[in-house]
C-alpha cells in the first residue's frame, strides 16, 4: 500500500503547461445536443474575481453517457465529444466553455441524477483542487437529484444551479463560484 502523492498549487504560471492550446471549445458543428455556453467568475474571500484560476469540467454527452470504458450504459457515444474541457480566464476574469447540455445519468441505488457538469477548480493560492458541480436552472429532475438532496442546508443547494440566459439566440448558463463567504459554493469531498 502506497500513500498518495501530495497535491501542490498550480501556481500563477499554469498557462505555460495547461492552457497553451484552447481546450474550452468542447463541441463542434456535428456534436449532438443543445449547444450551450457556460461562463462565470471565481471569487475569493474578499469577493474579488480571481484572474489566475483554472476550471476543468467533465460531463456526459447529450444522451447521458460518459466517454469512458466504465460507463457501460447502452446509450450512444458521440465521436465528436469527449466531455472534457479546461478554461483559464479572459481579461475580465471570466472562464467559459462551449459545450452541449449533458443528458441525465444514473445515480446510485437506482436513482436518477439531474443533468450536471462535474467541476474541478484550481488556482494560485489553492493547495488542493476543489470539486463542485453545475446543475441547470429549470430542470425538472433537480428536485429529485440525489446529490443536491444530500446537501442538508437547502439554501446552499442554490449555489450549484447555473442561471439561464439567451444572447443572440444562444443559450448561456451563468455559474459563478465563490470559494468563501456567505454564499460559498458547495464543494464536495468525494
Amino acid at each position: 500500500m502506497s500513500k498518495e502523492t501530495p497535491s501542490q498549487t498550480v501556481g500563477p504560471f499554469y498557462a505555460i503547461g495547461l492552457t497553451r492550446h484552447p481546450l474550452s471549445v468542447m463541441a463542434n458543428d456535428s456534436t449532438q445536443g443543445e449547444r450551450i455556453r457556460i461562463e462565470g467568475q471565481v471569487f475569493d474571500g474578499d469577493g474579488v474575481a480571481i484572474p489566475d484560476v483554472l476550471v476543468e469540467i467533465w460531463q456526459a454527452n447529450a444522451y447521458g453517457r460518459y466517454h469512458h470504458p466504465d460507463d457501460k450504459q447502452e446509450k450512444p457515444l458521440d465521436p465528436t465529444f469527449t466531455g472534457w474541457g479546461r478554461s483559464g480566464t479572459d481579461p475580465n476574469c471570466i472562464y467559459s466553455f462551449e459545450t452541449v447540455k449533458p443528458g441525465s445519468v444514473p445515480g446510485n441505488d437506482e436513482s436518477v441524477q439531474a443533468p450536471h457538469v462535474n467541476v474541478c477548480v484550481m488556482a494560485r493560492g489553492m493547495l488542493v483542487h476543489a470539486f463542485t458541480r453545475i446543475y441547470f436552472a429549470g430542470e425538472r429532475l433537480n428536485d429529485r437529484d440525489p446529490v443536491l438532496k444530500s446537501i442538508k442546508n437547502k439554501a446552499r443547494r442554490r449555489t450549484l444551479i447555473a442561471s439561464r440566459d439567451e444572447q443572440d439566440g444562444k443559450t448561456i448558463y451563468h455559474f459563478d463560484i465563490r470559494l468563501q463567504g456567505e454564499n460559498e459554493t458547495v464543494f464536495f469531498d468525494m
Binding site: 498518495e4 497535491s7 504560471f13 446537501i151 468525494m190
Partner: protein
C-alpha cells in the same frame, strides 16, 4: 445490477489543507465551510483518459521543444518515474503535463517579472504519457530557484510542476516535485503545507545514477501515487 468500481476517499493526511497560514494567498482562496460528502457515482468514477492523444515528437524533450532548433541553457536532467495507484498497480497510458521555470529561475509567462534572463530556446512546457508499466521519462533542464512575494526574502526551491488525470475524475492530481538537498526546501511554505513529514518526503525526487547518462545528463527519479480503487466494490446503478 452493475457493479460500480469506486475509488478510495481522498487521503487528507497526504494533502495540504485549503488554508495554510504561512502561504498567504491560500487564506482567501480555499473553501472554509465543511466539504459535503458525496458518494461516488458514474460521474466521479469516469473521467478524461486522452487515450487517443498523439504527442508530437519532442514534446518530452523540453531542452529542444521551443521551436527554435536550438538547445536550452542549463543543466540537462533526465526525469523518470512510475505512476502507481495506492495498491502499487501501475497507471498505464496516462498523460503527464509538465511546466517549469528556466535555469535562471524565470517562467516564460508575462506575469513573471523576475529580472532573470529569459531563454529564447526554452518554453518550459512538455508532455509525456506513461507506458504499459506506468513508467514515464522526459528530458529537461534543472529549473532555477526564484523569489516570490509571500514573505520577506522568500524564494521558491527549484521545482517542476506536474499535472495528471489518472483513470477517473476523482484521481486528478496537480503537484510539484523538488530536488534532494536543496537548502530552500525547509523554508518553503508550499512544501511545508503538506501535513506530515512522510508526505513532504514524497514530494522529493531522488538522484538516480542508473538513469544518469555519461557525458550527457543527470538522472532523477520521481514516482507518483494516485488514488486507488476501493477493495470492496458496492452495488451501483442499473
Amino acid at each position: 445490477m452493475l457493479t460500480l468500481k469506486t475509488y478510495n476517499p481522498r487521503d487528507w493526511r497526504s494533502h495540504p489543507p485549503y488554508s495554510f497560514k504561512a502561504y498567504g494567498s491560500s487564506l482567501k482562496r480555499g473553501p472554509l465551510k465543511k466539504l459535503v460528502p458525496l458518494q461516488q457515482t458514474l460521474s466521479e468514477i469516469t473521467g478524461p483518459l486522452f487515450s487517443d492523444i498523439k504527442l508530437e515528437p519532442g514534446e518530452d524533450d523540453l531542452t529542444r521543444n521551443a521551436g527554435t532548433g536550438k538547445e536550452a541553457l542549463g543543466e540537462r536532467i533526465i526525469v523518470v518515474g512510475r505512476v502507481l495507484d495506492e495498491d502499487d498497480r501501475p497507471v498505464p497510458h496516462t498523460l503527464i503535463d509538465i511546466w517549469q521555470a528556466n535555469a535562471a529561475g524565470r517562467y516564460h509567462h508575462p506575469v513573471d517579472q523576475h529580472h532573470a534572463p529569459l531563454d529564447p530556446n526554452f518554453i518550459g512546457a512538455g508532455r509525456c504519457v506513461t507506458n504499459a508499466m506506468g513508467e514515464y521519462r522526459y528530458l529537461t533542464i534543472k529549473p532555477g530557484a526564484y523569489p516570490w512575494l509571500n514573505h520577506p526574502n522568500a524564494w521558491r526551491p527549484a521545482h517542476i510542476h506536474l499535472s495528471l488525470f489518472g483513470p477517473a475524475f476523482v484521481t486528478r492530481l496537480v503537484t510539484q516535485f523538488y530536488f534532494p538537498g536543496d537548502p530552500l526546501i525547509p523554508l518553503d511554505p508550499i512544501f511545508n503545507s503538506v501535513p506530515t513529514k512522510k508526505g513532504r518526503q514524497r514530494l522529493l525526487s531522488s538522484y538516480a545514477h542508473d538513469v544518469t547518462e555519461p557525458e550527457f545528463a543527470l538522472g532523477y527519479r520521481f514516482d507518483i501515487v494516485l488514488r486507488g480503487r476501493k477493495a470492496t466494490p458496492f452495488e451501483g446503478p442499473q
